[in-house]
């Protein structure tokens, strides 16, 4: 897989969530995603950026245009140095929330995207990587 480009946006303030959304919308649209997929990707980004704000206080989003032999896609990474997730499996189930939320952010994002990977270490931080491939 060849990574063509990478860029980073800090997530520190609630207003950064809007910046993240706008950036993701632009990148996904430029890559050729249609409106429905763009909306799926932007919605996912909004959920993950909000999780960083809610649970870690601060973090970053990085975006990459990705390519494999036959296809092009977008990869978004949401990384923080927050408290980490104790039970990743439980946190990925609908309805699990440590702050009285709906617990839909992670499981919903998994449905909206083609791939999702969560790396987390308690006391170290959390990285969530999501991917969507362009349907040819």
């Amino acid at each position: 897989m060849i990574e063509k480009q990478d860029h980073e946006i800090p997530i520190r303030l609630e207003s950064d969530i809007i910046t993240v959304r706008k950036q993701v919308r632009t990148v996904a649209t430029d890559l050729g995603f249609g409106l429905t997929d763009v909306t799926r990707i932007v919605t996912s980004a909004s959920e993950l950026a909000r999780n960083i704000m809610s649970y870690a206080g601060a973090g970053v989003m990085r975006w990459f245009a990705i390519e494999s032999e036959h296809r092009t896609g977008i990869e978004l990474t949401f990384a923080d140095n927050g408290p980490g997730i104790i039970d990743i499996e439980a946190a990925s189930e609908p309805g699990y929330s440590s702050n009285g939320g709906l617990g839909m952010g992670l499981p919903g994002t998994k449905r909206l995207m083609d791939e999702m990977e969560i790396q987390s270490e308690v006391g170290e931080g959390t990285t969530v990587i999501i991917k969507k491939w362009l349907k040819k």
Binding site: L35, T43, L102, G108, R111, L112
Partner: protein
């Protein structure tokens, strides 16, 4: 942080609120207060939330909408959400969100029909 200054428009005894395309969190939380106060002041019987320009509905926004609808119901008025875009409807359902039992309409026009019929004692269609 910008407050995009949301207008609450009164049409007879119905209030209409046009949600901006990218409302920030502050706008969203101010909106709830603004709506509830406007309903009290105008003794409105209905509220139309026009979301036809909204491009993304995340869980924060969805929660605000369904909470506001419940608060409005407690005050004795009905809410109709109007004009959700197809792409937003798809992403919202795939994300797993529901707006509870909120009434919805394809357009603002239809939303007014629903509220009008309801206040005439007819079943909303």
């Amino acid at each position: 942080m910008t407050n995009e200054g949301i207008a609450v428009i009164k049409v007879r005894d119905v209030l209409m609120v046009v949600i901006p395309p990218e409302p920030d969190d502050e706008t969203v939380s101010n909106l709830q207060n603004q709506i509830l106060r406007a309903i009290e002041k105008n003794e409105a019987s209905g509220l139309v939330l026009d979301i036809s320009t909204v491009e993304v509905l995340d869980s924060y926004f969805a929660r605000m909408v369904s909470e506001t609808t419940k608060m409005v119901a407690l005050m004795g008025a009905r809410t109709v959400i109007a004009g959700m875009r197809p792409s937003v409807a798809i992403a919202t359902i795939e994300l797993g969100l529901t707006l509870g039992n909120t009434l919805t309409a394809l357009s603002v026009d239809r939303a007014f029909d629903i509220l009008h019929n309801a206040s005439n004692g007819m079943k909303p269609r």
